[in-house]
């Protein structure tokens, strides 16, 4: 005990950061080498399968790489930011960015709201068949998108679809949901909410159940009504859960791809094409340079939006 406490202070002065590793040579001679040998398998795998692909794709985004260059990936021309300029000035990519923004700005808050509502209902309101409802709400998450797409196409059929049939009972003439430029995106948002709120619901439910009952009880004794208790006690305590769900949902929605891919192929008139889907198309045409540049643009947008979410929703000190 005493020996070690004496030994620590000088080292602390030499390396103020407590996590800084000891310089090589200071420890026992075999230790550093052993550490390196033990780390080699991971380091090699990490270099080969993480660093290298990232480096190569970043490199690709600054070159005019096309599909036919795959066999000789380095005999291509370096064109600086040309691909980024081309992507940003492409009217279809701009349209795709606007569509993605629409999808995220409308879709994420609605998904969170529906997920929270379902979680509160399961936590407080629904006591009978709770497990059945929980399973029912979560099932869309684990169902194949292909099967979902077939069913939703039937639901959204203009003439004999379920949705328009129900609307016609109330004398409403429903639109051609997927074929109309105004309604195609709301249709996809509706489908995405239905498909994704289950995940948020399960996590919110766990968060709600972690809110201490004693706090609720104390507030109730002080005369707070149900809404006040939810808004001033439950909701602030849910903040970390909310951050997690909103970050993961937003990241998923920023890369939204499957819905337009299976339902509309980006149409009608590019009204549902997303950034990810347009990037995918560019890869399909073999324009690897432009496509990787677009991927990095999406990456930057996701990073920025996630940073903003952390700033807004982080726990207040």
């Amino acid at each position: 005990m005493s020996a070690s406490t004496i030994a620590v202070p000088p080292r602390m002065e030499a390396a103020p950061s407590p996590v800084a590793p000891a310089r090589p040579g200071r420890g026992r001679p075999g230790e550093g080498r052993a550490a390196w040998i033990l780390a080699i398998p991971f380091t090699l795998l990490f270099l080969a399968f993480t660093v290298w692909p990232v480096a190569q794709s970043l490199f690709m985004s600054f070159t005019d790489t096309k599909q036919k260059d795959l066999r000789t990936p380095f005999s291509v021309n370096f064109i600086g930011l040309g691909n980024y300029v081309r992507a940003l000035s492409d009217p279809v990519f701009q349209r795709a960015a606007a569509n993605t923004a629409y999808f995220v700005v409308v879709g994420v808050p609605l998904t969170l709201a529906v997920a929270l509502l379902a979680a509160v209902a399961l936590d407080k309101g629904i006591t009978r068949f709770r497990a059945v409802f929980r399973l029912g709400f979560y099932t869309p998450v684990i169902t194949s998108i292909v099967a979902v797409a077939v069913v939703w196409r039937f639901i959204l059929q203009p003439d004999a679809g379920l949705l328009n049939t129900v609307l016609s009972w109330f004398g409403i003439q429903g639109p051609n949901w997927l074929g109309d430029v105004q309604w195609s995106m709301p249709s996809l948002i509706l489908m995405a909410i239905w498909r994704n709120f289950g995940t948020g619901m399960i996590i919110f439910l766990a968060g709600l159940q972690a809110v201490p009952y004693s706090l609720q009880e104390a507030a109730a004794i002080d005369g707070a009504n149900t809404w006040q208790r939810f808004w001033h006690i439950t909701f602030p305590l849910l903040r970390p859960t909310l951050l997690f769900v909103s970050v993961t949902t937003a990241i998923g929605y920023l890369q939204f791809f499957e819905e337009p891919f299976v339902m509309t192929q980006g149409g009608p008139l590019n009204s549902t094409i997303s950034m990810s889907m347009y990037t995918y198309n560019q890869f399909g045409y073999g324009n690897y340079g432009v496509a990787t540049a677009m991927s990095y643009l999406i990456f930057v947008v996701i990073a920025v939006i996630t940073a903003i979410q952390f700033r807004v929703l982080r726990e207040k000190a």
Partner: protein, 422 residues
């Protein structure tokens, strides 16, 4: 994550400086000539990739080839269409291609551009094939492989409803087609006159026959020609079906033509030979007598789209002689007829159409007639990308009534910036 990012930038910068850069010469620029193929029966082993239903049925056909050439062993790998393109490009990059394969006509430019395909030897006579189909094998003046089977598009129409509309002989020109669609709507009581694709993937296959019929071309050498008066006139004609209310602008997502054709609400459409069995299946017994087909209407000439699949040999093959012998065997008229009977794929060899198996059906014979003038798009590696832009503009023209000349101008500008992939 900062370290990998820095490492990545360093690597990228280092590569950029130490530079790569493209080699100056272009190996595929000059027409290539093929070595001759040795005589005698085929021997050795051959591996083949084929897609979809063809991949399933090809081994049965090739039993005959193996019987005629006892020293040869053929292995066919069936590949789903959806995965095929990626599988081919990966294999070409890794130089792990099969000896030969069925190749989609629109992939020819790309694969030949990658230097993967062996030029067709002179022993294969191009004269036996439909000229439009043979055109799909040619890239930059060199032919790679043969057209294996073909398909083309005709106008399908309901004979019973046409009679009601007072039409007994199908129209032959543009005005006649439009008048017929109008009569179907006015006199026969159909909801729509004709079903035409309002843009979207592959709609160029219905638009281009009208353009070709009017003397328009997609390209002149290495330059795209979307902004010609002939093209404009054809697209305006196509647009008029939508603006005159003869065609549904907003069909349901994923809808096919069979149900509305059978119930009579869309009594005409333009499509390929596979629709015959499709509408007869939906229409039930006796429906075969209620419809027929007629050739694409004439402006300057009757033109249609020719599709299908080609058969090619890869340069990496170790058994080139046997591979080309198999290709030659596939092009024999009797083998083509047998293949039609097994798969209903239409023969690409003109003389095979003399066989009673094909002449017996008058609808089928009309397809054979149309194939003589059917045209294929140029085999440029960038065609699919240009076509997608063209499809997007057709959608604007059909659905929103956008100005045709402005749309074609924008297709032309985009096509020129995409290039021809040379």
């Amino acid at each position: 994550m900062r370290t990998p990012a820095i490492a990545a930038i360093t690597v990228a910068a280092a590569l950029a400086i130490t530079g790569c850069g493209r080699p100056a010469e272009n190996p595929s620029a000059a027409p290539q000539t093929a070595a001759t193929v040795a005589g005698g029966p085929a021997t050795g082993e051959l591996t083949i990739w084929a897609m979809g239903a063809e991949g399933q049925k090809l081994p049965d056909l090739l039993k005959d080839f193996e019987a005629a050439n006892p020293g040869v062993k053929v292995t066919v790998t069936a590949i789903p269409w959806g995965a095929a393109h990626d599988k081919f490009t990966t294999a070409i990059t890794a130089q792990k291609t099969p000896d030969m394969a069925m190749i989609g006509t629109t992939w020819m430019g790309e694969f030949a551009g990658l230097g993967a395909l062996d030029p067709t030897p002179a022993s294969i006579d191009k004269g036996v094939f439909f000229p439009g189909a043979w055109g799909t094998t040619e890239v930059g003046g060199t032919s790679y492989g043969i057209p294996w089977y073909v398909e083309t598009r005709l106008v399908y129409y309901r004979t019973d409803l046409a009679k009601k509309a007072g039409i007994t002989t199908p129209p032959t020109d543009w005005d006649g087609l439009k008048a017929m669609a109008k009569a179907m709507q006015d006199k026969a009581g159909s909801k729509w006159g004709i079903n035409l694709q309002p843009g979207g993937t592959g709609s160029w296959q219905t638009v281009m026959p009208f353009a070709w019929s009017n003397g328009a071309q997609l390209n002149n050498g290495d330059a795209w020609t979307f902004d010609t008066p002939q093209m404009s006139e054809a697209v305006k004609y196509y647009q008029s079906f939508f603006t005159d209310g003869l065609t549904n602008k907003t069909p349901a997502q994923g809808a096919t033509q069979e149900p509305t054709f059978v119930d009579g609400s869309e009594p005409m459409f333009i499509s390929g030979p596979w629709m015959m069995s499709a509408v007869e299946k939906v229409g039930g017994k006796g429906f075969a007598d209620k419809y027929s087909v007629f050739p694409m209407p004439v402006k300057q000439k009757s033109a249609s789209f020719v599709g299908g699949s080609n058969f090619g040999v890869f340069k990496t093959t170790k058994n080139r002689d046997a591979a080309w012998k198999l290709v030659q065997w596939l092009a024999k008229p009797e083998v083509q007829v047998k293949w039609y009977q097994m798969s209903t794929d239409l023969p690409s060899v003109t003389s095979a159409w003399q066989d009673p198996a094909l002449t017996a059906d008058t609808k089928l014979a009309t397809f054979g007639k149309q194939l003589e003038t059917a045209v294929a798009p140029p085999s440029f590696a960038t065609w699919e990308q240009v076509a997608a832009r063209f499809d997007a503009e057709i959608e604007k023209v059909a659905k929103t009534g956008a100005d045709v000349d402005a749309s074609l101008k924008s297709v032309q500008a985009e096509a020129q910036s995409i290039g021809t992939g040379g």
